[in-house]
């Protein structure tokens, strides 16, 4: 791994918040003292179009500015992308992929072109609707990325996310607890 850290690729659809999740992950890792990079790949942006976002998290200075072609972790925010986007392209064999789906790992694996690394599924819809009353896949997928990558300590993550949400939702404090619940429920669901 070039940056002596971890490289993450996010696949989502425009409007689902994959870019925001990548920027939030950069933000929260920065607070633990890491060198971070979080950036989206822009095309003709429109709601629902496939989009990609990237993270590099490292102990060392990050100088590479290209997209990420051999990620350690892939996060798929929308499972319908599996039929149209080659989400495991370049994904390291000793890496992992997380897919937002109510399906089990065994049901999803046949759709992953024989990928041999670790596969995780997260039912972000159920988690989000239970916790927030609405479907925002962002928070569950972010928590899953942290739990699977072990890029930072989970307790530190929870503490930092509370601060971050308090800032972000200063005018909507009623959604803070729901988002926090979505994070911890994801940890529980993953058993990690």
């Amino acid at each position: 791994m070039r940056t002596n850290g971890i490289e993450i690729r996010w696949h989502g659809r425009g409007g689902q918040g994959a870019k925001t999740a990548a920027l939030l992950l950069a933000d929260v890792c920065f607070k633990t003292g890491a060198n971070v990079q979080g950036f989206p790949e822009y095309g003709p942006e429109r709601m629902g179009a496939p989009i990609t976002a990237f993270n590099r998290i490292s102990k060392e200075e990050i100088r590479v500015h290209s997209n990420i072609y051999t990620p350690d972790l892939v996060v798929v925010v929308d499972e319908t992308l599996l039929s149209s986007v080659d989400v495991t392209a370049g994904l390291k064999e000793d890496g992992a992929i997380i897919i937002n789906t109510p399906k089990s790992v065994d049901e999803i694996k046949p759709l992953l072109k024989g990928y041999k690394g670790d596969v995780y599924t997260v039912d972000a819809r159920t988690i989000s609707v239970n916790a927030l009353g609405k479907y925002f896949p962002n928070s569950p997928m972010l928590a899953a990325a942290v739990a699977v990558s072990e890029v930072m300590d989970k307790e530190a993550f929870i503490t930092e996310m509370r601060t971050s949400y308090q800032h972000k939702f200063a005018k909507k404090p009623e959604v803070i607890e729901g988002n926090m619940k979505a994070l911890t429920d994801t940890f529980t669901a993953l058993g990690k």
Binding site: R2, F30, Q37, G38, F39, P40, Y42, R63, S66
Partner: protein
């Protein structure tokens, strides 16, 4: 004490603008620089700065208003990208020839067509002969640092020229990375108060700005403008030296990364230089003596300094992120070999076009180029002097 933070390149430049708190900012939004005026407007609305923000109806107007405000004696700036810069063309020349020390935060994006929003250097490179000083950044930190140095360079009485502070659209403008921010008062002190010598809103000393100049005078005006550009080199280095003393980060016309004993050097600008540095480290680990010359200041063009820096190597890859459509390469491919020739530096020089309209420049791309240079020198491989790298299909040889 510098403050550790994380920001995108656009956020970093907007933050620098807030700290400098110039007098007037006319602007019109265009991707990918839109966030800069947007964030500055937020700072103004929140009472964090008191710059007069003028929303205008086009970039022709934003540069016109910036020229007007600067002529009046106000420290002024604007921001734009791509076709926005193209629409400012006439005023770019007016700003430089009127010797107005205004600043343009440029976020590099390709010019049409095909229409595309991603990075290459065709916008600023197209404006390379408009008389502006041009400074390029590798990352958010450099975009921030360069902006802070812009007014002290522009406003120096030996210079009096506008400065374009460039960064790569999306690649750095929209990438969040770590950054060191300096304290407000230190930035303000470094930039200093603007005291124009001559300006329009000066009742005791009336003047005309931009009048017709007959042939008896116009050529001298242009000669003086060229002298100012030549003078600016010294000033750019002085300001960089003062910046280093104040904030600890050093700058020059270019950065030489592991070039001392390098046999093969890649001359490159902007964000791709960071990626190339990684390739240098990887190839050096395998015993290949390679280096990167990252050009920061393109105008004035440091021809003699570049020739000297390249004089010890066997071959240079000249990397242009824009096309000149002249059959021989981009702007660097013309100016670097001219510098080598005039300084009698006889090395292999291969011109590459890369990264047009956002085509990704990868570490592997840099490996490929360094290996080709070695092939040229060691095995006498014949290559076209004007090469495309990163095409989806192989180039016709």
């Amino acid at each position: 004490m510098a403050i550790k933070d994380r920001m995108s390149g656009n956020e970093a430049v907007a933050y620098a603008i807030k700290q400098v708190n110039p007098d007037v900012m006319p602007a019109f939004p265009i991707t990918p620089s839109t966030e800069i005026p947007q964030l500055v407007s937020n700072y103004i609305a929140n009472g964090e700065m008191d710059t007069e923000f003028i929303p205008v109806e086009s970039e022709h107007s934003s540069m016109s208003a910036t020229v007007g405000a600067e002529s009046a004696g106000a420290r002024s700036l604007t921001a734009t990208s791509s076709c926005g810069l193209a629409l400012m063309w006439e005023e770019l020349l007016v700003a430089a020839s009127n010797r107005l020390p205004l600043v343009l935060a440029l976020v590099n994006r390709t010019l049409s067509g095909p229409i595309n929003i991603n990075c290459d250097h065709s916008d600023s490179m197209g404006a390379r002969d408009t008389g502006w000083i041009q400074i390029y950044a590798e990352n958010n930190q450099e975009a921030y640092d360069n902006f802070i140095q812009a007014y002290p360079i522009a406003e120096d009485p030996r210079v009096h020229l506008p400065v374009m502070v460039c960064q790569d659209g999306f690649i750095t403008s929209h990438a969040v990375q770590n950054i060191l921010l300096e304290e407000d008062d230190k930035v303000k002190e470094f930039v200093g108060e603007y005291k124009p010598e001559e300006f329009l809103l000066n009742p005791g000393k009336p003047m005309a700005v931009g009048p017709y100049s007959v042939s008896n005078y116009a050529m001298e005006a242009k000669y003086n403008q060229e002298k100012a550009m030549e003078n600016s080199g010294k000033v750019i280095l002085e300001v960089a030296e003062r910046f280093k003393k104040t904030f600890g980060r050093g700058f020059g016309f270019f950065e030489e990364y592991k070039t001392d004993d390098a046999e093969y050097i890649m001359l490159i600008m902007g964000s791709a230089a960071g990626t190339a540095k990684q390739a240098v480290d990887d190839l050096r680990a395998k015993g290949m003596k390679v280096g990167v010359l990252k050009l920061r200041v393109f105008r004035p063009f440091p021809a003699d300094e570049i020739a000297k820096a390249l004089s010890g190597c066997k071959a240079v890859a000249i990397m242009d992120r824009t096309e000149s459509y002249n059959g021989h390469g981009g702007p660097l491919s013309s100016e670097v070999p001219a510098a080598l020739f005039r300084n009698k530096v006889n090395i292999e020089a291969v011109s590459y076009i890369y990264g047009l309209a956002g085509r990704d420049f990868m570490v592997e791309t840099a490996y490929e180029i360094f290996e080709e240079l070695r092939d040229v020198v060691e095995n006498g491989k014949k290559v076209k002097q004007h090469r495309y790298i990163g095409l989806r299909t192989r180039e016709e040889q």
